[in-house]
Amino acid sequence: MDRKEILTELKKVLAPYTESKEMLDGINEDTDLIKDLKINSANLVDIIIDAEAQYNIEIDFDAAEKMYNVGNCIDVISEKINKLA
């Protein structure tokens, strides 16, 4: 799965947690989850739980801490997926 495909999937994961639907449509790798998408910081754990289920991966504490913008999320997810492969 390439970065573009991951981003498309990630949009679906993020959707329930943001009120900024227009912003979500236009996300890119620099989009910040909290500042741009106005996601409640407490919900980041829910996004991680949903991402784990979506990609069938495990995201540990250290990796989760890096996931604050879309690019970082894709980094972590693609790394975990590639480990599985």
Binding site: P16, E19, D46, I49
Partner: protein
């Protein structure tokens, strides 16, 4: 003396109506909200009927944000949010305030946090999957979940309190809000209570053998307060909410006024002299009602309607006896008395607030709702009060003052006195 406190908004989620117009129609026409619950038959409960609001999660869509609604699983909280926000809007307010409303607070009660949410947590944790619980569990298993959702949505900045006093919870929450306004600590309070009776809470009561079990095939006949053929109460779910305001604050913003909360009392019989964990002691009950009357500066003869606790258990006849003694009125001189539980069952913590909403509507629209299923009043009740005071059909009648009381496990009592708002002091 303190400030005068008026009622400016009402909201309800009841088994027989999900909003004020539907609820008003239901109580005027004696519409029952009691239904057969197939799951309860499967669970081998003795009582297989319940009062369940016909609530859908989608009903909350315009009340809270999409992100907040996503992940909300607690139905008691959901009922509470809907009732409270409906009351808020009924009082002429917008849902979303820009800034914190420091003069407005919330007292909203409940008896148990949502056990469906707790069950999910127990199941996950025991399966060593606590990692998958996510961020939304704690806020829904804390007792103050309902007040946290309501106050957060409305931006309330005064006292935010979740109270709990079993079946006296709802009337107690209203009284607490009243006192904060009366004594100048708040200008406006959103008050009420909620209850979601799930299978576990229901099972506990079922095992106590205090629930109605003989009318499973005729659900609408199952809740029979004051009836000789009553065999226990019917648990129900829902929420009721009121907006209480300092009179001057309400007048200044041109609010419509349903009525005035004149006063009330909450106490306990101390589980002595006939009072116990499960039974209200007569002394405490009588003292509570008399204190409510005294605090309201009225005479017992002013009361036109008694909205009783009256659950349809063996306690009903003792309750009427207590009212007779507390008011010093009997026979045909006793006020009209009714029990909303005949239509919606007993929604535990929510009972007091839903019944207070019903009391305010009867006051405003000048009627006394029917006691359903009262075909055979308990003879001992008819020995002390007149049959005409137990209406079995709606009675249109000017209602100026209502006494509303509830009595809960732990021997806790609460009584409110509500009257029409009169501009002259009195």
């Amino acid at each position: 003396m303190g400030n005068r406190v008026v009622i400016t908004g009402l909201g309800v989620v009841s088994p027989n109506g999900l909003n004020i117009p539907d609820f008003l129609h239901a109580i005027q026409n004696g519409v029952s909200g009691i239904r057969f619950i197939p799951e309860y038959e499967d669970l081998k409960f003795n009582c297989q009927v319940s009062g369940v609001p016909e609530f859908e999660w989608d009903d909350l869509r315009n009340y809270i944000t999409e992100t907040s609604l996503y992940g909300l699983k607690g139905k008691g909280i959901a009922y509470g949010i809907k009732a409270a926000l409906d009351a808020w809007m009924d009082a002429g307010n917008e849902i979303v305030a820009e800034d914190t409303l420091w003069e407005t607070g919330c007292v909203f009660g409940s008896s148990v946090a949502d056990t469906d949410v707790i069950k999910n947590a127990i199941t996950r944790v025991d399966a060593r999957e606590s990692k998958k619980l996510g961020s939304r569990v704690v806020e829904q298993i804390m007792n103050s979940g309902v007040t946290a959702y309501i106050s957060g949505r409305l931006g309330l900045g005064n006292k935010i309190i979740n109270n709990s006093a079993a079946c006296a919870t709802g009337t107690q929450s209203i009284l607490m809000g009243y006192e904060y306004i009366k004594f100048g600590m708040a200008k406006r309070m959103v008050v009420g209570s909620c209850e979601y009776v799930d299978r576990y809470v229901f099972g506990g009561f079922d095992s106590m053998r205090v629930l109605s079990r003989k009318f499973n095939d005729e659900p609408e006949r199952a809740s029979r307060p004051m009836s000789a053929s009553a065999g226990g109460f019917v648990p129900g779910s829902g929420a009721g909410a009121l907006v209480l305001e300092d009179l001057d604050f309400a007048l200044a913003r041109g609010a419509k006024i349903y009525g005035e909360l004149l006063g009330g009392s909450t106490n306990s019989g101390g589980q002595r002299n006939g009072g116990s964990m499960t039974a209200p002691g007569p002394e405490g009950v009588i003292k509570c009602i008399r204190e409510a009357i005294a605090n309201s500066n009225i005479n017992a003869n002013d009361i036109d309607l008694v909205s009783g606790h009256l659950t349809a258990t063996i306690a009903d006849k003792m309750e009427i006896k207590n009212w007779v003694q507390a008011l010093g009125r009997n026979g045909d001189d006793f006020p009209m008395v009714n029990s909303l539980k005949s239509m919606v069952g007993h929604s535990l913590s929510a009972a007091g607030s839903i019944e207070t909403v019903a009391a305010v509507l009867q006051l405003k629209h000048n009627f006394v709702h029917a006691n359903l299923n009262l075909e055979d009043p308990i003879p001992e009740i008819l020995d002390i009060i007149g049959a005409n005071n137990l209406p079995v059909i709606k009675v249109d009648k000017e209602i100026n003052t209502v006494a509303k009381a509830n009595f809960g496990f732990g021997d806790v009592n609460s009584c409110l006195i509500i009257s029409k708002y009169k501009t002259t002091d009195g």
